[in-house]
Amino acid sequence: MLAQNKIPPGIDEYINATTLPMALEALADGKGTPLAGGSDLWAQKDSGTGRIGSRLVNINHVQELHGITQNDKMTRIGALVTVSEILESESLRETVPVLPASADRFASDQIRNVATIGGNIANASPAADMVLPLMALDAIIEIQTSAGEQKKRTLPLADVFTGPGKTSLQPNELITAVEFETPKAGFHSAFCKSGPRPALEISMVAMSIAGTMEDGGLRDPRICFGAVGPTPIRCRRTEQLIDGQAIDDDLINRALEAMEGEISPIDDFRGSKWYRVHMARTYLEQELMACRSM
């Protein structure tokens, strides 16, 4: 209905996978597209982007992809964990508050209830909000495939994205989980996001910063930005510059300058390049000053 002027995707096979091997098998020849929450996939269905393959593979009933497991060392979030589940998780709120904080700014209940962490990564939007705190946690993703010598591999999340909507994943690979070290005492993290309204907003600029507070500085810092480049990015030069250094006005100014050299925002209908640079500087300054006053 109402879609007569749009070209529907050429899906000629549908598989409702109930186990992980079944899902991987259905993706093995590279012609399958995994269906999770559908909030990105179905919105793109008629857009002519051709991102849906000829076989639709429903992975929603694959039990291995659900659930959050956590111990003192590692936290594992299944690829099908929804943004609502992250927002409502008591254990994440206690140990990794930056994740629920980011989930809190994500879309609306109706989207949060279905949008999955794996989908937010695989969709590879430059403005993917859940990706930033995970990158700041130095998360890795677990990828599986039914074929080839290496059936399971891991990849740092920061290395996944190659362009807007593009990842380094192969068409026969499936993201099965995200993992990161459970933060220890002294770990600090924050998430900031700007847009014209607090709900259902695709970020104009978003930032997540994390590290360990030590002697007035941030050790092993991670500074991650969204919507200021073709992919979510880590500002590694800025991170090196401030690593373990006492945070003062001079360091903040040098960090802002270094960060500005690492981002590459564009003008578009959501915001101008000038404004994006301004907001990126504002967020980094604000969060470094927050670290200084801790």
Binding site: P8, A43, S108, V114
Partner: protein, 158 residues
């Protein structure tokens, strides 16, 4: 391409069977096959909430849900709120507060309100404003909508 898939699911308390095109949305199916025209197509991309339904206890945009994914699930639409006793207390609150203008957003608003109250009967105004963030009323009748959900929430508590 016209691949069809057939399956069963629970719709407003009844087990039903459906045959759907693989590219159809749940919203298309509900309106075409089951004549359930309460959920509306407006934006078609998850911004407006006019198509809100409750699937396995969670509200979601039916326009962004592939119909094939309904298989085995439990669906509640605005039409499922009617019982022998009459309208749902949230529907009654919308009537009492005059919270309906053109009415296009109303089914989605009420389904999202149902979801919110089912999860937390102790809603305050901030919870309601936040909870309805995914539902747009282009008549901008938000004040009375919020009052209606607030009244229904109070009713659910007592």
């Amino acid at each position: 391409m016209s691949l069809n898939v057939d399956f069963t699911f629970s719709l407003n308390g009844k087990n039903v069977a459906a045959v759907v095109g693989v590219t159809e949305s749940a919203l298309d199916l509900l309106r075409r096959e089951f004549d359930l025209a309460g959920a509306k197509l407006a934006c078609g991309e998850g911004e407006c909430g006019a198509c809100t339904i409750i699937v396995d206890g969670r509200s979601r945009n039916a326009c962004l849900m592939p119909a094939v994914d309904l298989e085995g699930r439990t669906i509640l639409t605005i039409e499922g709120l009617w019982t022998e006793k009459g309208v749902d207390p949230i529907q009654q609150a919308f009537i009492d507060e005059g919270a309906v203008q053109c009415g296009f957003c109303t089914p989605g608003m009420i389904m999202q309100a149902r979801y919110l109250i089912d999860r937390n009967p102790q809603l305050n105004e901030a919870d309601i404003v936040r909870g309805l963030e995914g539902n747009v009323c282009r008549c901008t009748g938000y004040k009375k909508i919020i009052a209606a959900v607030s009244a229904a929430s109070e009713g659910a508590r007592s």
